[in-house]
């Protein structure tokens, strides 16, 4: 019963997160609407919980986002989930501590990786003539805004959270390769 409650709570939180992400994108003016709330929250969850569950949360959220997207199905799902998986490994094995600046660095790396995977898969799909989707200069400018604002907001939110919650205080992470 407890487990069911937990699952329902996680599910409900994810739906709220998706709605919140859509709200940000709809309500904020350009270029602020490019903030990637999904990655921001995933990185905060990753650093707070230290759990691989974040990869499955990412899978579910990106599956959902995919339903509302005009890109070939799987593009966002694959890039989003795999980039969070790789970032989780980087966080566990390379990053040495929890701090606002590691949160910022992780968000930049995560988004760079996400867009890199996105472009690679897109190029592959174009090679096999499975899509006619091509990107123009303006899209890359948008990617830049996305990385800049998401990184700044992640750092800020992490800093604020670290003032109130113990789990966000600057500390070395468990299982880190290079503990200080």
């Amino acid at each position: 019963m407890k487990l069911l409650g937990k699952i329902l709570l996680i599910f409900f939180s994810l739906v709220v997160l998706i709605a919140f992400s859509m709200g940000t994108s709809y309500l904020l003016p350009q270029p602020f609407s490019n903030i990637n709330i999904i990655f921001l929250i995933l990185i905060i969850i990753m650093m707070a919980r230290d759990s691989g569950l974040v990869v499955w949360i990412s899978f579910f959220i990106h599956f959902f986002i995919e339903l509302y997207s005009s890109t070939p199905f799987g593009l966002i799902l694959f890039s989003g989930t795999i980039s969070i998986l790789i970032i989780f490994w980087l966080y566990k094995n390379i990053f040495t501590n929890r701090s606002w600046y590691s949160a910022m660095a992780l968000s930049v790396l995560a988004l760079l990786l996400y867009r890199l995977l996105y472009l690679s898969v897109l190029t592959l799909l174009q090679l096999f003539e499975l899509t006619s989707l091509t990107l123009k200069k303006i899209t890359f400018i948008t990617f830049g805004w996305e990385i800049l604002f998401t990184c700044l907001l992640t750092g800020l939110i992490y800093f604020v959270l670290s003032q109130f919650f113990k789990s966000f205080k600057a500390s070395p992470i468990e299982n880190g390769l290079f503990k200080v």
Binding site: A19, S21, M22, L67, G74, L133, I138
Partner: protein, 270 residues
């Protein structure tokens, strides 16, 4: 390292299976359920984002004696505002529907009225989500118009209960257009330039004027001739280029569309 590789492979397999199941249609019940969960929230937020009412901010002094009276009045005011907003929305909706019906009836197109319930969250495109899908006979490539036949975009993805519209300013959008000038210049109206669209491949020797109207040329299958696209804002002409380019400002604000019509049959004469 081995464990990591195993994890990577297992997640990739799950993703591939999800993609296969999606295309096989086995995930439709789950997808429809998820869609129905978020639809009300998305619709609400989208309608807030397009509404221009920003007069709700009230400054209030710190005087404690006034607080209670203010709160009571505020509650009353809020109720009135809700009623008024609903009324205004209904009025706007009514007017817009009348205009659309007028256009569609006069042109004998078979169409379906749709509500816009959201837009893209990914920065790679400009799309809208509308609340009708396959069950309402909507198909890929159907065109979407607003009042008086202003072209908004094309259907690019259809689900059972919702569809995605690729707006004319999306970077993938390409529509054959004609300029209402002496030569009836034709060209390709392309998106991907922010809020404006460009009309490319217009021969150099044809005379374009700022303010000229651009309509669909009818050269494309499924898109009738004469749907309004926008008007010319600027002309870019280089002496060494075989073609000139026109910067077009669309007739409707593509960020503020609430209601639209999808033309599902252009040959219908009912």
């Amino acid at each position: 390292m081995k464990t990591k590789l195993k994890t990577l492979i297992s997640i990739t397999i799950v993703i591939i299976l999800t993609i296969v199941f999606h295309f096989a249609g086995w995930l439709s019940p789950v997808e429809n359920f998820l869609h129905s969960l978020v639809k009300p929230g998305s619709e609400l937020m989208y309608s807030i984002s397009v509404s221009e009412n920003s007069e709700d901010v009230e400054l209030f002094s710190n005087n404690k004696k006034l607080i209670q009276a203010y709160k009571d009045l505020k509650t009353e005011l809020l109720e009135n505002k809700i009623n008024l907003a609903e009324l205004q929305l209904l009025q706007e909706e009514n007017q817009e529907l009348k205009k659309q019906l007028n256009f569609v009836e006069s042109n004998k197109y078979l169409s379906v009225g749709v509500n816009v319930i959201g837009k893209n969250t990914e920065p790679t495109g400009n799309t809208l989500i509308v609340d009708r899908g396959k069950k309402d006979n909507i198909e890929l490539g159907n065109i979407v118009i607003t009042e008086k036949g202003v072209l908004v975009g094309k259907i690019t993805s259809v689900d059972d209960h919702f569809s995605i519209v690729r707006l004319i300013n999306d970077n993938q959008s390409k529509i054959a257009g004609t300029i209402i000038n002496q030569e009836k210049s034709i060209g390709l109206v392309e998106g991907g330039y922010g809020i404006s669209v460009h009309m490319n491949f217009v021969p150099q020797n044809e005379i374009l004027t700022v303010g000229d109207t651009v309509v669909t040329s009818g050269l494309e299958e499924g898109i009738p001739r004469g749907l309004l696209i926008g008007k010319i804002e600027a002309i870019e002409k280089e002496a060494y280029q075989p073609f000139q380019k026109a910067v077009i400002s669309p007739f409707v604000n593509l960020e503020k569309i609430i209601l639209a019509s999808i033309i599902i049959d252009t040959d219908n004469s009912n």
